[in-house]
Symmetry: C2
Subunit: 337 residues, 2 copies
DNA sequence: TATGTTTTGGTTACCGATAACACGAATGGT
DNA sequence: ACCATTCGTGTTATCGGTAACCAAAACATA
């Protein structure tokens, strides 16, 4: 069964034509008669020939790869973005080369280097904070770079994202507008999750701007924060700051965990304490009560990124400058706050 | 900024050595002095040179790619498997090339063809049901093939999985052991999700084997079934078969949706109706009540698959036969059933 | 010092496709 | 019937690395 892999040469031989003709038969290229093309295709299929992209990539200097890094593959938000990105790029015949950095910029650096070796035609990174060397590699790569899920002050190239800090300001305003002022924040206790850290900073800044106490910060463990960690953080919050009126969690997963902890303790949500999350995960819309959250439209980030890439690659000759697409997030008021 | 990409030739020129020496400096190859290797590495970094795998892959006929197809990227179970697989393979310098088929075997066929063009050194597919042409392509590929998340009767090559039907038999036994006999099943209403369909068939077979009525099957929509669809299916079940004692859902997500529907209707779980899920998603362990579920150990499937691949590739000369690793699932008895 | 061995680095050909160019045959307009 | 296009196909060189082979230098041993 372990055949040596067939090449175009084998097909050419079997079809009695030159290798070049076989090559042509596998493309849109009109310079082959329909008759020979069909014949070659059939022969190729019969022989079990599979086109070798590797060789074509080298010759044409085009890989049809778009590299993508995300913090974790096991996160519905990022998965949504990658899914949408991948589907849209597939329509244009491009393939996603995915890597995950484990919420670690040092790991991201290793990953970016590995991915660039594969000569992708564009690269998408999640977030706007990177090591110095990562920045340098991305700048030198000579391909479009898109930073997503963030709105960096000093972008490397293109940006498709939103301000994590602004979402927190929006949520603080929403809660304050409901007459709640003793607010807390539950998030990771390191800056490994740079977007989570941005949200925490955004919370603190928004509170201070309104002359409110911003010291109720609960560290829930190493990012990403799970439901379970959200629950234990809520336990800690209820013990340490029993008069807290509302808590913003770094994600809906921790928010749901927090909610279950309240249920276990008989604390009513939102009457005794309001809970808000982030991400508009499906659970936010179906839990009981439903969770107030921020929808950053992950799929939209994916499609917009894909379309930006296709547009930039298409206009490569026209020298299109860095593009910036801001995604408008929504605050989904629901039952929990 | 749009430099033309540097090649080894540029580095060789700058370092005053031959291209071959540069090539050697980038490998374990001992036939270069440590002094020149360090010098070349430094010069390369300064020039912003990035190694081109494409060329190396063509020459060596090795890509370090392992292709993987999953039904959906947005599924915590498959994400766990891919994450574990990817991490383990990365240790061996291999990279995962991921594609998703949208729970559609025709789409899987397209995907497999695309992936094989990239000349992966092994390919992992989820499930044991494929189109005839997919089977043929995989058989002809001349690389190790691993079918996962299933235990096919007629495997293509290697297998790392478990019997979906057996898990349902186990769950039926568990529920019957609790004195419940009027059981229902909630799942997708097409066979798009082949593993889900296997579980439904397993449920029916197990019921019939125990002389129980297996007609309480609720179709919840096109796979994958969401929490929301689980909720509406539960509504339908409560209306159509009000005396049902327990329901098995095709996944924990639909089980959780079903649970929330019960909460909305004031139906007590498990006193009025017991609910069981599948997958051991995090939510099963933290919802209130916690959900009785099957843990198929998704990460274990990933690491076992990775190790099988490394072992088989390593022993390529030794002609190792098809391997079959059965993953032992656990029934996690919890509060909901 | 002479000879054998190891280390280090260079030369050439090649992986499997395709761009660029070439050329004979078919087609068309007058 | 003649010359200009267009069409269909072949030939050659090439993409950027590396295997295989080779040669000079460095080192070791008698």
């Amino acid at each position: 069964m372990q055949h040596s892999a067939k090449t175009m040469k084998d097909v050419a031989l079997a079809a009695g034509v030159s290798v070049m003709t076989v090559s042509r038969a596998f493309k849109q290229d009109t310079s082959v008669s329909e008759a020979t093309r069909a014949r070659i295709r059939t022969i190729a299929e019969d022989l079990g020939y599979v086109f070798d992209s590797t060789a074509a990539n080298l010759r044409t200097q085009k890989t049809n790869f778009v590299a993508v890094t995300i913090p974790s593959i096991n996160n519905a938000n990022f998965a949504d973005t990658v899914g949408a990105l991948s589907d849209r790029l597939a329509q244009a015949g491009m393939q996603v080369l995915l890597g995950h950095s484990g919420y670690d910029v040092a790991q991201e650096e290793v990953l970016v280097e590995q991915l660039l070796r594969r000569r992708p035609e564009a690269i998408v990174v999640t977030g706007g904070r990177h090591t110095e060397r990562t920045r340098k590699m991305l700048l030198n790569a000579g391909i479009p770079v898109v930073e997503t899920w963030d709105l960096p002050d000093d972008p490397i190239d293109h940006v498709v994202g939103f301000s994590n800090a602004a979402t927190m300001a929006g949520m603080v305003d929403y809660l304050v507008g409901k007459g709640l002022s003793r607010l807390a924040f539950i998030g990771g206790d390191t800056d490994g999750d740079t977007r989570g850290a941005d949200r925490r900073r955004g919370f603190v800044a928004a509170m201070q701007a309104r002359n409110l106490d911003a010291s109720r910060l609960i560290g829930a463990g190493k990012p990403p924060i799970s439901m379970r960690e959200g629950a234990s953080a809520m336990g800690q919050l209820l013990n340490d700051f029993p008069d807290t009126q509302a808590v913003i969690c770094v994600s809906d997963l921790s928010a749901f965990g927090a909610l279950t902890e309240c249920q276990r303790r008989g604390v009513r949500v939102p009457q005794d304490i309001a809970i808000a999350g982030f991400g508009a995960y499906e659970i936010a819309g179906i839990s009981h009560p439903t969770i107030t959250t921020i929808n950053p439209h992950p799929r939209l980030i994916g499609t917009q990124t894909a379309e930006l890439i296709l547009q930039v690659l298409d206009a490569a000759n026209t020298r299109l400058g860095p593009q910036r697409r801001e995604i408008h997030w929504d605050l989904q008021g629901a039952e929990s706050a």
